[in-house]
Symmetry: C2
Subunit: 260 residues, 2 copies
């Protein structure tokens, strides 16, 4: 992590939620993202871009996605939040899309289909592959938290496999900020894998509790993603300034908890 | 199923594998797909389009994907093979992309994140949502085939949940054709859910064995996907004719096994 920055700004840009003034332009999502990025670039640790919000517009959406990624400065991590995963030859294509076409520095992937679905991503040794372990949503109870015959929960089995797959030292873990007890209890298992934490804010996770977990474990390799809580802080024309102010407030909170 | 057709043609179109003659054009993937579709349209039960093969070209790839879907006649099922899945508000966007923008009749989704990641797809009551249960690839052993405390395998737990989620009668199951013993043993559990079976051909699954399974269970609601085995049957300019011939051969084999 660079200079005590732990907050990742999630660019989950929804045309329904952006200010009326810029909404008129067909290019409004890009304009919105550009202002958010320009205003937050000195205070953000990373940007996470949720592919779904762009794919719904088809080719035009992919154009906006590409242009947004292109204006994020190179020294900031760009996480392509795409949650892909398929058989080997198909995952190779997905990795090609995310890492070569879109030039993301990191991505999120879904481990359900196992090792050969993950491996093509790991071939990109200079990127970070955040693999879903325990997610922030209620549905995490259905399968991720199901107990296995060996006594582990499925998400723990996934974390153990991620450690096996980490020979290029480019794996990370997605762990929901809403799962605070599980986070505490699994930091030893997670060991030195970087952790991407969605779920603070709109989904109910507590920033302070997450930071305390890492602080107490004496660990700094984590990123807390906040999307709606930052980018829609204001629904007026001051959305950029308010996003920047909110990010600074969040950074101050993190630093206080970390006693930095 | 319509008129004893069970073969789904997989449009996993890879520019490296299409004939030299049409490869020169930037539009070559669309031209290739168009000829395959025109030649096979009377004999195919469905077309499955693998999003990964198009996404790697960014906006241009999405344009090709859209144009390909648009030329598939309305009476044939178009399966958008995208294997998406995310928290509720994001899955809503993915469903919007696949069902509204790309107008697919069906899709494949990944169940790892559980109920709220699946539900937005199920809202599309007139589509078919094929949910990954047991996939055809070696990595299926890592998690899908892991044994749970309750004695089930994870993929069986997924199938049970799919049945709970099927209140609009629009759920289906993805089951690898390479998993023939498991298929036999789980047809009762799968019950009347339609089954999409990838893995015949390049991945090693046997067409005859799969068909025998369904025949013996007196079931016809299945689709066998074959991609490489049909579309790359010939690497020459006769690829369209050869694809049609191969599809007809496969249809004859299926009818023989089904004694239709």
């Amino acid at each position: 992590n660079n200079e005590g920055k732990f907050i990742c700004v999630g660019l989950d840009t929804d045309i329904k939620k952006i200010p009326q003034k810029i909404k008129s332009s067909p290019d409004s999502i890009f304009k919105f993202n550009k202002e958010i990025i320009e205003r937050t670039v000195d205070s953000a640790a990373a940007y996470k871009i949720n592919f779904a919000f762009y794919e719904k517009y088809g080719p035009e959406g992919y154009e906006l996605l590409k242009r947004t990624i292109d204006i994020i400065p190179d020294d900031l991590i760009t996480i392509g939040d795409a949650k892909r995963g398929d058989i080997g030859n198909t995952s190779t294509m997905y990795a090609d899309s995310i890492f070569n076409f879109f030039s993301c520095d990191a991505t999120t992937i879904n481990p359900y289909m196992g090792e050969d679905s993950v491996k093509p991503f790991l071939e990109f040794k200079d990127r970070i592959i955040f693999i879903l372990a325990l997610t922030s949503n209620p549905g995490a109870n259905n399968f991720e938290k199901v107990k296995l015959e060996n006594g582990n929960y499925l998400y723990q089995e996934v974390i153990s496999k991620i450690k096996e797959w980490n020979s290029f030292n480019n794996c990370g873990v997605v762990f929901g900020a809403t799962q605070i007890e599980e986070l505490k209890n699994n930091l030893t298992l997670i060991n030195n894998l970087p952790v991407l934490l969605p779920g603070v804010g709109a989904q109910g996770g507590s920033l302070e509790e997450v930071v305390q977990c890492f602080k107490q474990a004496n660990r700094i390799n984590f990123l807390i993603n906040i999307s709606r809580g930052i980018i829609y802080k204001s629904s007026g024309d001051d959305f950029g300034a308010m996003a920047a102010e909110e990010l600074n407030t969040l950074n101050t909170k993190v630093k206080k908890e970390m006693k930095m």
